[in-house]
Symmetry: C2
């Protein structure tokens, strides 16, 4: 096992009806800015529940944080917070809203001239942030229990990640019934996003960390079990929603990645596909991952065999055959969730590869993966295999 630090101070309030707990979770004297995406939080009644729980506290709402949240929109929220003197932020939504609120919380008091520098430094220059909580409505990214975010600069066409010890939510309310109104496509995205988060911290090389391995395998097995049920159910089933929510949170709260190597190349390549072509984050991961695992089958050999055996029950055949089968089962699982796993499925051809590789180079993404061996040339091979 590798040396590690694990420190996750976010308070999780999990279960049906927990939005009412905002009455205790938000400081009594806070002046609260609620931040949301589109109209759905209002339409579904979630915002009314939130406002009721806030009681007498002063509050206002900032509406309009988009999927793949932008620097530009975030900075509009920063202006509203400064002008309105808000001292507590409440993200109501999915990973995009929560990521944006983390950035906004850090940008409000940022001392540099341009808060884009936070992204350029990956958050290492964050020295403080407004306190914030979240009410999760879309299980997928794990942002509700970690300190990281990804922000897109529309004008620059750049999508960059950041994190800081100052950007953990103080609390996150996880009420599985808040997912009942999600379209099927977003549920499928959530399953695949959580799956790939887990794989990024698991399918690397062995360091003799059996607890972490089995936790990761347990999350993957759970997602494989509940994914198809979530899509097929004519009405939402509480436990399946609850288990998706908790699996997605556990997939990216630092726990399964503690003490083990981490990859993240699939995410870095995927971010460029989203920034350039607007493909849903989870779908970019489903495109890149199978091709990446195949390209990296030799350095990832031992863990691919373990993954095949423990997660998919693949115990026969040569090692090569078993690895091929494990990768194909992964691809089939994504496809069974209604998510296409090739660039051609999104109308992209060979010419798209050049621009993605050029952007990776422009953003310094030239030594990706747990071995730092995924150079632009390797990324190119991965993308070509994903055509």
């Amino acid at each position: 096992m590798l040396n590690f630090d694990f420190h996750n101070p976010t308070h999780i309030a999990f279960g049906q009806g927990r939005i009412a707990d905002l009455a205790k979770l938000v400081p009594a004297t806070a002046k609260v800015l609620i931040l949301v995406g589109g109209a759905s939080a209002e339409k579904t009644g979630t915002l009314a529940e939130v406002r009721a729980a806030l009681g007498d506290r002063q509050h206002a709402t900032f509406n309009g944080i988009e999927p793949n949240p932008s620097f530009e929109t975030s900075m509009r929220a920063v202006v509203q917070i400064r002008e309105g003197g808000f001292d507590f932020l409440l993200a109501v939504g999915g990973g995009s809203v929560i990521d944006a609120v983390k950035f906004i919380a850090a940008a409000v008091n940022f001392e540099g001239s341009d808060p884009w520098a936070i992204l350029e430094k990956g958050g290492r220059n964050i020295t403080g942030a407004l306190p914030f909580g979240t009410v999760l409505t879309l299980p997928a990214t794990g942002s509700e229990m970690n300190n990281g975010g990804v922000i897109t600069h529309r004008a620059k066409g750049a999508k960059l990640a950041f994190g800081s010890k100052h950007t953990y939510p103080v609390f996150s309310v996880l009420d599985p019934t808040k997912t009942y109104t999600l379209p099927t496509q977003q549920l499928a995205n959530g399953v695949v996003d959580a799956f790939v988060h887990t794989v990024e911290q698991y399918l690397t090389y062995p360091v003799n960390a059996p607890v972490q391995d089995r936790f990761a395998e347990g999350i993957l097995q759970t997602l494989i079990e509940i994914g198809p049920r979530l899509l097929a159910a004519p009405e939402p089933v509480y436990d399946d929603r609850a288990n998706l929510m908790w699996a997605a949170t556990m997939a990216l709260n630092g726990l399964i990645g503690a003490g083990v190597p981490q990859d993240w190349a699939t995410h870095m390549i995927g971010h460029e596909l989203t920034a350039l072509h607007g493909i849903d984050h989870a779908r970019t991961l489903a495109i890149v991952l199978p091709a990446l695992l195949n390209e990296r089958r030799v350095p990832k050999r031992d863990k691919l065999l373990q993954y095949g055996e423990r997660v998919w029950g693949i115990t026969t055949g040569t090692h090569d055959e078993r690895i091929t089968a494990a990768i194909e089962r992964t691809r089939d699982f994504f496809e069974s969730m209604g998510i296409r796993t090739r660039l051609s499925g999104y109308g992209l051809g060979a010419d798209a590869v050049d621009t993605v590789v050029a952007q990776l180079e422009a953003h310094g993404m030239v030594k990706l993966g747990e071995q730092r061996e995924i150079t632009p040339a390797v990324s190119r091979r991965i993308l070509e295999a994903a055509l």
Copy 2:
């Protein structure tokens, strides 16, 4: 899944050489009281490492916290802290030292006339505590990453548990090499203690919580894998020590118990055995658990079958046969760790049963277990089956 809160703010600094990090982890201006058990922390050089890392900070040492730490000893430390004006505590040792430091940290500023009231109220009357960190030298109890402790009142012959949101360690340093000097018996105790902690939160009844189930199973599988290796190794093996340490921490930091029923009857009965007869904590658990699982085989049926299949690979036979086999494999595992699983192995006979049952009644332990069905009469049957 049941509704739950999960909030664990302890910072874990894990790995070889991490004691040096005390230089950053302990506040620079702190006046530190280091608390230890016997002479081993001094003899092994761990205390010298700790003192070196504390650098210029004022510090003193309180020596003599015993296994099954006592109220009486703890109160002597409270006096030293008040008189010396210490404002940060550092536990160096295993679960006993850490449990004691939690109680001491809460007792220093306790407003009532007698801090024993903290135990009588299970910690619900704690309103604040001195900040404290830990340096773990004996992986077993999980106390390094939770807010609970157990304190024995020697004069009263009572062993009671407490917990509070104020009694989480600020940090815990987990350096697996600090276990290298442990006697075999303590390693075996650690494996069994962590195993039973996991079982108490897993072998109850199903609530459709597959992530929690698989995390628990992953910890059990890991302990089964490394336990015999730990005992057989002629020299300490870093990874096995590291994995025991992390498994024991994860077994009782609140995570696998979040959203699921919990039993803890084995612990409550075991505590009386320790208080009356001085049997090591883990050994009392090894005595009680197999008998309890057999007594409760009907209400625990579904989870016992799942446990048998996933943890021990038992897939054939009638349900009753499979459950019997799962319980026997559990008993055999404890015995293979050199830990006897019957009262007779510790020189106790039928007359001991009466006094244990009487103490359970005296301490209000009359409706134990996840179903609150383990009355004194049921505890008696369990103990008689453990003779």
